[in-house]
């Protein structure tokens, strides 16, 4: 965990209204794990005051990538940055995905910008695991395929392959999933994660999900990002420090 000033190497818009920043940060690139995140201060003054958390999207040599859309003031400022600008980054933070479990097929399930952490997951697994990817969004504009492989897509309005939610799409493939030794990796809106949890419990699938919550510090001192634990109801877990990735059976979504 460090605070570094890192330079933006390249800015891309891989699809409409989705931004991708390639940032030269050897210190972070050398140690960050898939599913971990960065807390970025986008301005030099007091507005916005707090850092903004971003999943690491990909790592390539000494460079890290983040992906985002414009949600508020912080991301609006970030979207105006260009190659050559520097960013104040705190990271790597949190607990990421465990890719080393006993499984043969990685099933990636992404809703909207929940696709952000999976290009790095895909990069690390593509040579030694089979990957099946399911991507959902409200419309075709919210279905983000950047850096992903072997995917099927779903949208609420039916403008892509499948009409419905990404978990509905997943259900259509149940037979295949049952025939393979799988582990599911999910990230997306809470409603999607809830429905994914039900699906995994019904079918006894192993699954890890990346969660999100408003937070200030990103490393445990503000206590701003509680998530209810299944095992110990006396105490909250913290999304920033105990997560953001949890076994889907360990937390109340």
């Amino acid at each position: 965990m460090f605070i570094v000033n890192s330079r933006i190497v390249e800015k891309q818009e891989p699809q409409s209204k989705i931004y991708l920043l390639k940032i030269h940060s050897p210190e972070i690139a050398s140690i960050i794990q898939p599913g971990q995140f960065l807390n970025i201060h986008v301005s030099d003054d007091s507005y916005p005051l707090l850092r903004r958390p971003f999943s690491v999207c990909d790592v390539e040599g000494e460079n890290i990538y983040i992906m985002f859309n414009i949600l508020g003031e912080g991301t609006k400022i970030l979207a105006r940055k260009n190659a050559g600008d520097s960013l104040d980054i705190l990271g790597p933070l949190g607990v990421g995905f465990n890719l080393d479990d006993d499984y043969e097929t990685a099933v990636i399930v992404a809703g909207g910008l929940g696709a952000a952490p999976f290009p790095y997951v895909t990069r690390l697994m593509k040579d030694n695991k089979k990957i099946l990817t399911f991507i959902g969004g409200k419309t075709e504009f919210d279905v983000i395929t950047y850096g992903l492989l072997n995917y099927k897509t779903a949208s609420d309005n039916g403008s892509v392959e499948f009409k419905g939610t990404v978990v509905d799409l997943l259900k259509t493939q149940l037979q295949q999933l049952r025939n393979e030794k799988i582990k599911i990796f999910g990230c997306g809106p809470t409603a999607m994660l809830r429905s994914l949890k039900q699906f995994c419990i019904e079918n006894e699938f192993n699954c890890e999900v990346s969660t999100e919550c408003a937070m200030a510090c990103g490393f445990g001192i503000c206590q701003g990002c509680p998530i209810e634990s299944i095992r110990n109801q006396e105490k909250y877990l913290l999304v920033c420090k105990d997560g953001p990735v949890f076994n889907i059976r360990d937390v109340v979504l």
Binding site: M1, I3, H41, S46, Y47, P48, L49, L50, R51, L90, C213, A214, M215, A216, C217, F219, G220, I221, C222, Q223, G224, C225, P226, I227, E228, E234, K235, Y236
Partner: protein, 307 residues
């Protein structure tokens, strides 16, 4: 030897410099120690401790506001016992004064916590939180009532010989009368200010953004309020003041001292730049050298008000 004497006294509590870390913004010290050398600081104040562990409020606990943030953590903490067994051993590795912040629902609980913790040698002082806006019981029900603050001060004073600091609420019309009663009942110092009560709504759902509805506002947005409260106490009551509220840099530290603070606490800034406090100690020293201040304590209440 540094050229400037940065040491300050908060009543009987001696600090190597006036820069402390505020309760609720440093946990129990371990995370922040990755970024700032705790041994370089004036002191650290623990997250509010209660007799039993507290789970705290459900999410959402935090929302950002212009130049500030609202929080309603709800005093989530490990409780006195786990603090002693699990947290103090880490803090013992550092030569930094440890100030224990205590929150409670009843006067008896304040006293009980203090009695247990006062036996711990590592704890150099107590800061009593009578001003948390985010819990139903305790907190502000004491902090808004001069008699109750007097009673808490009196009873906790009887339970410890260690320096006793009362952390005051800004959500009152005349803060100086609270500082006055703290002094009268034997308190050694006051911390001013705790957060201001605030809230925020989602305009589409019409629901509060914070689960608890009300929350505490902190950050640079509250600095002018905090300075005015420090000045009010400083002009009226002869008691050491620890200034708190939106300190973002070394200039803010100097400003609080001029307004009457003997020391200060850095709060919200720790969330954004956990390395800031150590740097600020160096920067206030540079300021003193540049302006030929030999003892930083000379700055306390050095305001020049012509009328």
């Amino acid at each position: 030897m540094s050229k400037v004497d940065l040491s300050v006294n908060i009543g009987p509590l001696k600090l190597r410099n006036p820069v402390m870390l505020a309760s609720g913004t440093v946990g129990y010290g371990n995370e922040i120690s990755v970024f700032s050398d705790l041994n370089k600081l004036g002191g650290i104040v623990t997250k509010s401790l209660s007799l039993k562990p507290r789970k705290g409020n459900p999410p959402q606990r935090i929302v950002e506001t212009p130049a500030g943030m609202l929080n309603a953590i709800g005093l989530a903490n490990v409780g006195v016992e786990e603090f002693i067994n699990e947290k103090i051993p880490f803090l013992k590795k550092y030569d930094v004064p440890l100030i224990c912040n205590i929150a409670a629902s009843t006067i008896e609980e304040y006293v009980e916590c203090t009695k247990i913790l006062t036996r711990e040698e590592k704890i150099k002082a107590f800061e009593i939180n009578v001003s948390c806006p985010n819990v139903k019981e305790g907190g502000l029900q004491f902090g808004n009532n001069v008699k109750a603050v007097g009673k808490v001060t009196e009873k906790v004073r009887a339970a410890t010989d260690k320096p006793l600091i009362i952390k005051l609420s800004p959500n009152v019309s005349y803060i100086a009368e609270f500082a006055e009663v703290v002094k009268k009942e034997g308190g050694d110092a006051v911390s001013a200010i705790n957060t201001l009560v605030g809230t925020a709504f989602n305009i589409f759902t019409k629901k509060p953004k914070i689960y608890n509805v009300n929350a505490g506002l902190s950050g640079p947005a509250i600095k002018p309020v905090a300075l005015a409260k420090v000045l009010e106490i400083s002009k009226t009551v002869d008691i050491p003041i620890i200034g708190i509220g939106g300190i973002m840099n070394w200039k803010d530290v100097i400003e609080f001292m001029i307004a009457g603070a003997s020391a200060i606490q850095i709060g919200t800034l720790n969330f954004i730049d956990p390395a800031a406090s150590e740097r600020i100690v160096k920067e206030i020293e540079d300021f003193c050298i540049q302006t030929e201040v030999e003892k930083i304590s000379e700055l306390t209440a050095s305001y020049v008000i012509d009328k």
